[in-house]
Symmetry: C2
Subunit: 339 residues, 2 copies
């Protein structure tokens, strides 16, 4: 099955979601079957373009309304991102991003080589006006609502100004999730405003501008926040540079898994009825891959990155997240925040 017209369906209100079937540990055929089987509900269910090999499409009977886009190249996980995207023009990542650029897709989702996906998006998609560094945004669970953390790894070294831009993008994201007045915290080693590096002290000052139009007793920028307080869920958006954010995210994953392993190692506990299913549930909740994948914010186009080990359910959750962002005009909302 080859390339079909990208505009075979004319429902303009249905989000057009591109899905990379390659690069995920779950085989592409399994992902495609899960996609076909899943009942996407709502007034405007997503319309899919899937990117995969001839082999996948030969082996999975795909309904007419899914556009199958055969690619001849695949970027491997361990390839150098810049070399890979330059050499493998007909890879799912290159083709998907190019269709996003020409507005033939509203969003593109991939679980493939992170560096290649981000580099490709950065090279081919224009930056949003007012943004000069993109960020990866992810949702993490807390005692209350999910909070948005950015940057979790797109740019290791940033300026104070970039942290303000991240805050604005995070606010727009949380608004699209239905939070009317999202609050922002700056990840730091203490709450006092003089804490951290000179760059963070400058960011603290810049972030205070977010409070210009806010009521004094209800500020948008809530100040510095420490890693241990993030999980109380008092804040909706956490901003940090991509190095610290990545360490924060991976440490959270690591210790959460460790605690759950320890629970399971405490023999008498897991032999109790029901405990294993509770632990499994908790593990799933803490596995960030189960949440809508990380969003690459700052570029003109919705690019979502799923964990390389994503299950079909994780990809489906990401599709739902992407559809919501399209339906809620997320890119337009970011632009409004940045004004």
């Amino acid at each position: 099955m080859g390339k079909k017209s990208l505009n075979s369906q004319e429902d303009l209100h249905r989000p057009r979601i591109g899905i990379d079937l390659l690069g995920c540990e779950t085989p592409g055929a399994t992902l495609l079957k899960a996609l076909i089987a899943h009942p996407f509900e709502g007034e405007h269910p997503p319309k899919f373009t899937v990117f995969g090999t001839e082999e996948i499409f030969d082996n999975v009977a795909t309904p007419e309304d899914i556009i199958c886009h055969t690619v001849t190249e695949q970027i491997e996980m361990d390839e150098d991102p810049l070399i890979a995207i330059r050499r493998k023009k007909d890879s799912s990542i290159n083709v998907g991003i190019s269709l996003l650029k020409t507005y033939d897709l509203d969003a593109f989702i991939s679980a493939g080589n992170t560096g290649a996906l981000l580099a490709c998006a950065k090279i081919h998609l224009p930056m949003l006006p007012g943004i000069d560094r993109p960020a990866l945004l992810t949702l993490i669970p807390t005692k209350k609502d999910l909070i948005a953390v950015l940057d979790v790894g797109a740019t290791v070294d940033v300026k104070a100004e970039n942290l303000l831009q991240y805050a604005q993008m995070g606010i727009a994201y949380q608004k699209s999730r239905g939070i009317a007045h999202p609050t922002v915290g700056l990840l730091n080693v203490g709450e006092e405003k003089q804490k951290g590096t000179p760059k963070l002290r400058r960011a603290y000052k810049l972030l205070q501008d977010l409070n210009n139009d806010a009521p004094i007793d209800n500020p948008v920028f809530a100040g510095n926040i420490e890693g241990r307080d993030v999980f109380h869920g008092e804040i909706d958006v956490i901003v940090t540079d991509g190095f610290t954010g990545n360490v924060f995210l991976k440490t959270s994953e690591g210790i959460a898994g460790f605690v759950l392993d320890q629970m399971e190692d405490l023999g008498p506990l897991t032999s109790l009825p029901g405990v294993k299913s509770i632990l499994a549930k908790l593990r799933e909740r803490l596995h960030y891959a189960e949440y809508p994948g990380a969003l690459f914010t700052g570029v003109e186009g919705l690019v979502m990155k799923c964990h390389g080990e994503s299950s079909p359910d994780a990809i489906i959750n990401t599709i739902k997240g992407a559809s919501r962002l399209v339906n809620h005009f997320f890119l337009e909302k970011i632009k409004a925040e940045l004004k």
Copy 2:
């Protein structure tokens, strides 16, 4: 009870440990009573000098072999560290560090104002030869042995050379705990050597020098390590700058507490017999304050910082940790590593 002679006991093999009874949320009198009641065992049990107010010493009957040092000033938790140590010369922190400087103590333990303790130690104690930035070292639990993480907050901004020095101090520390050949990992956002900031790439190169005398199949420097892999316990020492290390530590505390809270919130679980005590045990194990307090490494003298919320048990654990370091000639071992 006033100041007694610091050399009233002449057993030269007993570690002389100074304990700040002020600045901890646990009242000084409670700490002192716990200290008196605890049977410190071993061939060379510690010999104590305690620093507190007249009120404490008037209210607790103290055995002859504990030296009670009355101070007239106290540095509060929220005081500016540099101003406090300059103004409050007769505070427990100032007096304790000065006795460490004159070799009248082998170690000084405080749960008071961290900034004041570290600043005071940095100002008054010489740096160890070859070290130009001190670090806070703490032990964290993993699936295997405890690992040493440094710096968890002494110096937010460091050079690549400092990370090599931290590695050497961490190796000496783990050797003093009985690990014959400790291995070192550099906390980073990926395992590949080109990951992270230019500073980290330089540190990676410098750290490879640790492998010069090591067998090829058993290197001392094991390369970059991600936050999620730290808890597997394959490495003995993790080095990082004080900003990232502090975020790492606090995030670990935060998410561990969050996971345990979530477990407790899952109602049916905690109503099961025995589960509450298992959860409490796990919480204690993950509460870093229960481990020997953080060690301020790099200065000529053993300074240990306990959590402000330390229980008497946490202080006693710290005393045992400090005694072990004295008995194992930790400072001399660091100097040997640095050669």
